[in-house]
Amino acid sequence: MSITTPEYPATDPLDRDIATMLAEDARLSFRKIAADLGVTEGTVRGRVKRLQAAGLLKLAPIVDIARGRDPGASGQHLMFVTIKCVSGKLEQVRDSLLAMSRVSALYDANAALRLIAVFVLSSLEEAAEATNAVLSLDGIREAETELVLSTIKYNAAVGPIATLEDLATPPVVSDD
């Protein structure tokens, strides 16, 4: 297996405090954050830039899944697919999944023995198509699909978001 996890960039409590304030209001002014945290506005701006460049912070609009991504859409479905790959085929399967536009998140788990893909789908027909597409991939030993029926708790502010690509290209951004 040639997948290795790059070194994780160092962060400190100021990064955490900035991320926590932005989690409350992503459009909060840097001036307000700086005043509350007792640092300069330039420091906040620099920290946010650095975190974004490192892939550790993403500022983006999220559309409610019940309403759909497009205006007038009736809603979307989340589907988790857990895949056990044939030995030595994980990277091939991973690349095939990354080529699927409906895959919104992809992780490996348990020392790269499994892949976990999150699909965002417009209909149950699309869920069936996605399941067929996954099961048709070469290198799959076992695949398990789970449709999300309801969400009891959801933290939109914290998650596994820094990709291997982000971590492999450390940012060059100064503090101010």
């Binding site: 996890t5 994780y8 962060t11 990064d15 991320a19 926590t20 932005l22 989690a23 992503a26 459009r27 975190l51 892939g55 550790l56 912070l57 993403k58 500022l59 983006a60 609009p61 999220i62 559309v63 409610d64 899944i65 019940a66 989340l78 988790f80 991973r94 999944l97 990354l98 895959v103 919104s104 998140a105 992809l106 992780y107 490996d108 788990a109 348990n110 020392a111 790269a112 499994r114 976990i116 965002v120 398990e144 699909t145 449709l147 999300v148 029926l149 969400t151 009891i152 708790k153 959801y154 933290n155 939109a156 502010a157 914290v158 998650g159 596994p160 978001i161 820094a162 990709t163 291997l164």
Partner: protein, 139 residues
């Protein structure tokens, strides 16, 4: 435009779309208030001091999965909880500061929540893609 830059100023967006900044700001506020769309700042779990993240799935017997899910959701460091169609009807994302916490949490979920028949723990390693575009904002 917000997808490109979640902090883009309303006036900047308005200029590009040929609209007034006020109109853009009002639309963003209205979509947020209606729960249709929210600009989020999502940060990696490690910024918050966590070192490990696991998906924990539960098989449930003799109890409604919804009750198990609610009990699980009340625990600290559980980031999300879903009811799913699979053989593990309850699925959650659980964050930990160290391996001991993860082991204790798995034991606690298994023995401490009534109706849990089996626990499947998957420690997330590498992230290959993460696109924050759609989420269950109403949860």
């Amino acid at each position: 435009m917000l997808a490109r830059d979640g902090r883009a100023q309303s006036t900047t967006i308005g200029e590009e779309l040929g609209l007034s900044g006020n109109l853009v700001a009002n639309r963003i506020r209205a979509m947020d208030a209606a729960g249709q769309m929210r600009v989020v700042a999502v940060s990696d779990f490690r910024i918050h001091g966590y070192r490990m993240l696991a998906r924990i799935r539960l098989q449930v017997s003799g109890r409604a999965p919804l009750d198990v899910a609610r009990e699980l959701a009340a625990r600290d460091h559980v980031l999300s909880v879903h009811i799913t169609s699979g053989r593990y009807p309850v699925s959650c994302l659980y964050a930990f500061h160290n391996a001991r916490e993860m082991i204790e949490a798995a034991r606690d979920v298994s023995a401490g929540i009534g109706g849990v028949e089996d626990v499947d723990v998957e420690l997330l390693n590498n992230v290959y893609r993460y696109i924050p575009a759609v989420g269950p904002l109403g949860a």
